[in-house]
Amino acid sequence: MQPCILCLPITILSEIKLGLALTPFVVSATSELTGLASVCCVNLTGLRYEGMRVRDVSNRFDRFQKLMTRIGFPITYYWADNNPRHVEHLQLYCKTLANAGMLQPRSATTLICNCGAVEVVEEAINSDWSMDHKVMDIREGRPFCKLCNTQLRETRRECLFLDTHFSGNPLVAIPGFYQREIDTLQESFNQPLLVSRQRKIGYELRLFDRTWRLDTDFCWSMLFCSLIENDFEPKAVVVSNRSLKPLVWAYGVSRKLCPDLAQVTALVTPYVQFETGDPARPIGSLAQLLDRYGRTPVRLLMASGLKWDKKEVVAESSLIFWALKGSARDLIAVPSEEKTSFSLQKATGLTDGHGVDKLVSDLRKLNRVELSPYHNLLLEKGSSNE
């Protein structure tokens, strides 16, 4: 099996923003520095794709992969939640969970909106564990769907529930200041979760003598097992600090199915916003910035945002201006000859955005700049890239 670093599935929107590409960027860069294979996971099913033709979804995925190639983030393997092998295995995974008594049907009162984006169990309405909370809003004590703007209505029906209790075998967090938050999330994740849905999208499952429609988030949550099936051994996962819950959930569900799933390191990135400094001028999409400036200045901007010691970062596009000036003097950059594979901890230190800011500044001011192996990658220097 190939040890790998991965990211949780990304939903690919029609326009790829820099913030969305940051996670695959970290996956790719850390993979290059550590020698782990890079796996970029994507969601190609779910609400965001509702009404789209299969071909259009597929084209969108193709464009995303081309964009990653254009910016120079090599990815070993793209895992998609609509991968036929994964979909085929879903039935088996659910049967395993049902046989172990962890997946059970029972009658419950659920709250559902008109468009079907929100569907929660009434008893868990105030729990922030449901993935639906990202599209739900409480207005004057009443729950609403943010998408269709309708108040949720009650229905009593037969539902499929997953028993959680995800504690034990904790994820290891880098930076360490996220460890407590992850531990707390793992320990508190101990209530039955609704995994069946009434809405028409999502995969069907035959279980307990009836057909269920599965929640799309539940379907991708077995991704660690799915990767093992594909001969990858998950060693590390890159997540934004806003995605710790989905990580704990996916790791927890996967461990129920693969008890020997090894301990995984979570590389938790800050929440990075890329801005121009002028609210009237949006920064533009990744493709637009690439077309305008080429890939090196855009990579330096993205890399600058990755300040591991912070939880929130605002990276201003003015850095591109300095990166253009600095990159134009790249003859003064002396590539690193270091060929070592680094530990995850060391690789994280190397990829720190403060170091990138210093690099850009030094390129403008100095006559000779010694590059780190990471800076080699960013500037495409060194023996492998020359």
Binding site: Y293, G294, L324
Partner: protein, 251 residues
Amino acid sequence: MNKRKIRNLGEKIVAIFGAENVECILFHGSILFNPQTPPQDADFVIVLRRKKEDDCSELRRLVTHSRIVQVPIHLHLIYLEELPVNADFFSIHTCGAFFACHLRQAETIYGENIFDKLVGPSDYQLQLSLLQKVQQYTLQLRNLVFKPGKVSEGELLWAKKKSIVMLKDLLLSSDIIIQEEARIIRESMDRFPQFSAEERIFLEKLSRPWMSPRSEVKRRHFMSRCLWVHERAYEIMRTRIASTEKCRFFS
């Protein structure tokens, strides 16, 4: 011209020069972005790693004997060693540094688009190269408008096409890169209030399917309207450049 034919041409080029010698083959221009709009020609950029004496002759033979495409082919041959890392120093044909941005939007039919690896251009060179292009097109069109004799169909189409290119360049000078003609016109009208009501009516006409003006009077009228668009775009760019760059114009 369909994608298969374009790929075939790419394969022929790779077969002639050898895969190890071809850095990339890019397909760009009107057929790629505006396949319904005449006049059409197939624009290619070929980047080779090594120079050989008869490269140009080989390409001439290919274009002469090629029955792969029915439209005129424009090939630009560039050697890797001629490409500056800094896009400020890049130009192709009569287009300056800004053209690196256009070529990044090209379809890569072989290899990896080398123009993604170029850095920039800087804002200064982008504005300067676009201004020079806009000056060139405006003066060319003025020559056509006062040229004696009848206006040919080719001249009408050229004027129409360049009017939209002027808008495209104007948008690029605001960091907006759009290739599809109808969108270029829409976006320009939204972004630049300087276009007069009459000019806007004419711009809307330009976005409709081509109907050649029948009488010579109408043809002359069309050419004058195109010149309006050119001059307005030039004026907008001049005003902007005068306020942001180290450039002053007589007034």
